[in-house]
Point group: C2
Chain length 225, copies 2
């Protein structure tokens, strides 16, 4: 069947793992993770679904690979900065990546196997704390506390039905109208007198908590026996 040969020669590149992962990521970016099926992914790559299994052992492996690829997008902490600004920049970058790929955070729960990108990233963050004068135990504390906050924030941010902007404000107004003020007085107060106020944006909460954690870590490091 020469038709195939022509097609190949006309620029249809061969499949490989990276191309599969890349396409899977942009497919998930566009339509959400639930739109990513092996069949649709194959279609996008001009290939039958089963052909993907030559480069990925199953769907779980595909998802793990996508997560690991994403860790490569995160800006690693720089050696030129002091620990605090280095770690801070990294954290801002984590949030940016999770905003760009909203499906990723939920996927990391099921991602059992850490890939090389993930390990490299973690190693550099740990190193930044160690070289910043943190003891081993305090480094463990810091790593846990910081990333709990960062990933937790990203999770909340995604779950929230509002952040800012016209459309979101309209949505928040509808929510507020359905909220009995007598039953939920504090929620009502927060929504009407704060969230719906002009200039509010949930995105701004990120740096507050981030600096709170970073300052707390610095204090904990300094007051360590």
């Amino acid at each position: 069947m020469p038709a195939r040969k022509i097609q190949r020669t006309e620029g249809r590149t061969r499949l490989n793992r990276d191309r599969v992962l890349e396409t899977a990521i942009s497919l998930a970016d566009e339509g959400g993770i639930e739109k990513l099926s092996m069949r649709r992914l194959g279609e996008e790559l001009g290939v039958e679904a089963m052909s993907l299994y030559n480069h990925v052992s199953n769907k779980e492996d595909l998802l793990n690979g996508m997560i690991d690829a994403l860790y490569g997008e995160i800006e690693l902490p720089s050696h030129d900065d002091d620990w605090k600004t280095a770690v801070r920049k990294r954290s801002v970058s984590v949030r940016a990546v999770l905003l760009r790929h909203p499906w990723a955070n939920g996927l990391m729960d099921s991602a059992t196997q850490a890939g090389p990108g993930t390990l490299r990233h973690h190693d550099r963050v740990l190193g930044t704390f160690r070289n910043g004068g943190f003891s081993l135990a305090m480094t463990a504390h810091a790593f846990s506390a910081l990333d709990s906050y960062v990933y937790g924030y990203a999770k909340q941010e995604k779950a929230l039905p509002f952040d800012s902007g016209e459309e979101a404000a309209a949505m928040a107004n509808v929510m507020l109208a359905q909220l009995p003020p007598s039953e939920y007085p504090y929620l009502h107060e927060l929504m009407s007198k704060h969230v719906l106020q002009p200039g509010y944006s949930y995105a701004d909460e990120f740096t507050f908590g981030l600096d709170l954690v970073l300052d707390g870590l610095e204090r904990a490091r300094d007051s360590e026996g």
Copy 2:
């Protein structure tokens, strides 16, 4: 067909939304969220899958209902405690609930519609901050920072392949052996000299970060203009 009537009379209770939600929760607790299908849930309740749709509008509604039911398990902040211990107890309770139902955290991303249990819970937490002397803006900060940490921690805790115990230590040893020390020196150090040390338990990291956040919030409240 009298067989059915007898069966009913013999204690086969009628279906209702609460019973559906309860059973779905315990099914997810036992076999993980991926084992929860409408067919299996029906089977567990002695009913065909389609019958569930009389009490739940679709699977998403079922999952939303499960989440809202779980919020009812969380210990609400008590009015008898000062804000810090009240909120602290609540946070410990959140973590306990998420440990009891490991599938819940990942589900909360997709839970668009907040139910009455969820709203009630949030309202009480907000009220605790307000009555603890937090301004409206600072309450928003506090709520965001604290819950980001708490839910983020629970997420990490579940994703981690180790925490403590014999079995986990064996797992960690295998991981360590596969970790090239030259490429990941800090990870290697942390694992061998800290995580694998007797007495280590990742669970202990929770209170460190929790108190760090709470102390930070107190300081922020006091230094507010």
